[in-house]
Amino acid sequence: MVVLFAVGLYIVLTSQNLLKKIIGLNIMETSVFGLIVTSGMVDGGSPPLLGRGLEAPYASPVTHALVLTGIVVALSVTALALVLIVRVKRECGSIELDELLEPEE
């Protein structure tokens, strides 16, 4: 999971393309989710569904709820970022960071 976080951060840092940066951000987010869910799992455990014939030990439901919230918020962030990027493209004609930062002639 740390490796995934590192790769995501590398994409965010080195890519000049704003869309690619958002993909990198998504990879970083999922790596953190992975760490949280992994910390809540139990070897040979079942999902936290009571009354369905599954037996203890159960995985921790708190971590699952946490990650569920995180995924949905990540989606909102991505959607907002994409709309902003499309707007940047329309106003400035480019989504490459180095071109955007060049002083206009």
Partner: protein
């Protein structure tokens, strides 16, 4: 090594491979497809770790909606990264 460990290792290798490929690719459309694959493998990992709720969300959000939104943004911004 139990079959469980083998499965975990396989999925993790796939995840890291996808992430590295996304970092290297210049074709953004291919990167989005790879991100979709990445999300879906992650969803398998969630099921394996006893989190079906998270897996369902990941499958629908990561592999579905996010990819569609990215593709729509791509039609406007161009699929090649410079």
């Amino acid at each position: 090594m139990s079959p469980n460990d083998v499965f975990d290792l396989l999925i993790l290798t796939l995840l890291i491979g996808c992430a590295l490929a996304i970092a290297r690719l210049k074709d953004l459309a291919a990167a989005v497809v790879l991100f979709s694959i990445y999300s879906f493998s992650l969803c398998l990992l969630w099921v394996h770790r006893g989190a079906p709720d998270v897996a369902m969300t990941e499958a629908a959000v990561g592999a579905g909606i996010t990819a569609v939104l990215f593709f729509y943004a791509l039609t406007r911004t161009g699929r090649r990264e410079k």
